[in-house]
Symmetry: C2
Subunit: 290 residues, 2 copies
C-alpha cells in the first residue's frame, strides 16, 4: 500500500504518544527529528516502512529499547483473561463453517488492541460488536476452503494481546481439519514497533505450544531481527506456504501487493478504510487467491 | 495559551484538510512547506499565532484567498435556518437569569461549527446537548452581573454560521438590560483563517443591524486587516470596553492571559480541554474578573 499524505502528521502524533512519559524538552527534540526524517524522505514508499524507521529513530534518541514494554505485558494479561470465555463461546457452536467464521471474527476483534491509531480500546465491546456484524469485506468462503486444503500455515501476527485471539483461530483451524498443519510459521517482530507482538509476547500467551510451530521474525532488514516485509526473503516465505494469514493494518500496508494472502483486520485508520473502500472500524476478511 | 507539542501534527492535518480539493502533488508540496515553517519556528508562542502564519502560507502557496469561502456561506445559511426556532425556544422562558443562561448556552452551541478540530458537526444535536447539560466551567453568575452594569460590549466572534448564535446572545443582552449598549464592538477576522467569520459573514447574518454596532478586525498585524490578538492595540480594545466576550478556541488561545474576558466555547480539541481542566466537548463559561 502506498503512503497517504495524512500518514505524515499521523506519524508525528504517534511519536508524541510513544514518548508521552518523557520530558517536554526531549519530546520536542524527538518530534523535530521525526519531522526532519519525514521531510527528507521520498513519500512514495509504504507507510509500514516509514513507520519502522520512525520507531528506530525514537529508540535511538530515547535510548529506550521498547517504549511499549509495559503496555504489551498488560495487553497479554488482559487478553488471556478473555481466553476461557471465548473458548466456551465457540464450544457451543457445532464444528464446521459457522464455528470457524466465529473464530475468524474473534481473531479480527483482537486487532482492536492497537496503540498506533487514535482509537478507544474496549475489548469486551469490540468482541460483541465484531461477532454480531457482517464484515465490510467478506471472503470467508475462500478462507474456509483453504483451511482444509493447506499443509503449511504462515501467520503474520500483529499486536501483543491480540496473539491470544490468533491462538484461538489457529486452534480452531487444527480442530476443524482434524489434523495439525505440517508446519505453522508464526511471524512476530524482531524489533519493537508500537505494541507489535514480539517473540516474548507469543510465548507469554502460549503460541509456542501449538503443534509443529516455528517462529519467524520481521525486523529492520538485519539477519538477527529479520527482513522487512518487502524483502525477497518474505516473498519466499509466502511462496513456501500454502495458507497465509496476515493480521492488522501494518502487515496489510506492507503485504497488500502479494496475492494469496488472507488479510484479517479492523480498518481502524480512515486511510486504510479508504484504501479498502469500507467504513472506518469495518472488519475485513480479504483473500485474493493467487 | 502556550503551544502544545500535539499542535504541531494537528496544524499539518489542518493544512491537508484545507487543501483537500487540490492535486496530490500540490498538497504534498504545501505540506512540506508547512513542515518547514513549523520546524524552523520557536515553539514558545501561542497556537493561534502559528495557525495564522500557516494559513497565510497556504493562501500564498495556493493563490486562493479564501479556501473556506463556500463552507462559510453554507454555514451562515444553515445557522440562519435555526434562528427562528431558537428565538421561539427563548421566548417561552421568562425574561431574566434563566433566559440569559439559555442564550449563553445557545451561543456556545454555535461554536460547534468549526472546521479546525477533527469533530463531527451536528448543529441540531449539539444545541439539544448544550442546552441540557451543565457547563464544565460555569462562571455564569459573574456574566449575569456584568450584563446589567456594562456600557460597552467588545465581542470577539469566532466562526461563520456561529455568528447567528452570537446575534441571539447580544439581542438577549439588550432585551434584558432594557436598553442598548452605548457601543458594541464586534470583532471579525480581517484575513481568512479556516472558517473564521469575516465582515461579510457578520453582514450576511445581520449582525450589522444591531444598535450602536461597529466592526473591528483581527488580522495579520497590518493596518488594513487589523492587529494580532497579542498586539497592544487589542489590549487597548479590552481596556476600552467594560464587558468582553470571547468566543471559541482560537480567541481563547490568543486572549487567555487577559483578565476581564468572558470566554464562551466548546472545548473541542483535547489540548484545550486539558488546558482548561475539563473533558473534551465540555462547554465553558470562563470569566475571571479584572
Amino acid at each position: 500500500m502506498k503512503l497517504y499524505l495524512d500518514c505524515i502528521p499521523c506519524f508525528q502524533r504517534q511519536a508524541l504518544f510513544a514518548t508521552r512519559d518523557l520530558e517536554e524538552k526531549t519530546r520536542a527534540e524527538i518530534l523535530r527529528k521525526v519531522m526532519n526524517l519525514l521531510y527528507n524522505r521520498k513519500w512514495n514508499i509504504s507507510p509500514d516502512e516509514l513507520s519502522q524507521d520512525i520507531y528506530e529513530l525514537i529508540r535511538h534518541e530515547t535510548g529506550i529499547e521498547d517504549l511499549y514494554h509495559e503496555i504489551k505485558k498488560a495487553s497479554n494479561q488482559e487478553a488471556l483473561e478473555f481466553y476461557p470465555h471465548l473458548k466456551e463461546r465457540l464450544e457451543i457452536i457445532r464444528q464446521g463453517e459457522d464455528r470457524l467464521f466465529a473464530a475468524v471474527k474473534i481473531a479480527i476483534a483482537g486487532n482492536i488492541i492497537d496503540f498506533g491509531p487514535q482509537i478507544e480500546i474496549d475489548l469486551d465491546k469490540t468482541i460483541s460488536e465484531v461477532l454480531g456484524k457482517e464484515p465490510g469485506i467478506n471472503h470467508f468462503a475462500r478462507f474456509y476452503e483453504m483451511a482444509f486444503k493447506a499443509d503449511d500455515l504462515l501467520y503474520f501476527a500483529d499486536n501483543a494481546g491480540e496473539v491470544v485471539f490468533d491462538k484461538i483461530l489457529i486452534e480452531e483451524l487444527i480442530a476443524l481439519r482434524k489434523q495439525p498443519f505440517r508446519k505453522i510459521s508464526f511471524v512476530v517482530k524482531g524489533v519493537p514497533v508500537i505494541n507489535d507482538a514480539m517473540l516474548q509476547d507469543a510465548q507469554e500467551v502460549g503460541i509456542d505450544r501449538l503443534p509443529n510451530l516455528v517462529f519467524l521474525k520481521l525486523g529492520d532488514g538485519d539477519k538477527e531481527t529479520g527482513p522487512r516485509r518487502r524483502d525477497d526473503r518474505v516473498r519466499q516465505w509466502i511462496k513456501d506456504h500454502d495458507m497465509i494469514i496476515s493480521k492488522g493494518q501494518g502487515n496489510f500496508e506492507g503485504l497488500s501487493d502479494n496475492r494469496g494472502v488472507c488479510f484479517l483486520l479492523i480498518a481502524k485508520c480512515p486511510i486504510i478504510a479508504e484504501e479498502l473502500g469500507v467504513k472506518k472500524l469495518d472488519t475485513i476478511i480479504k483473500y485474493d487467491k493467487r
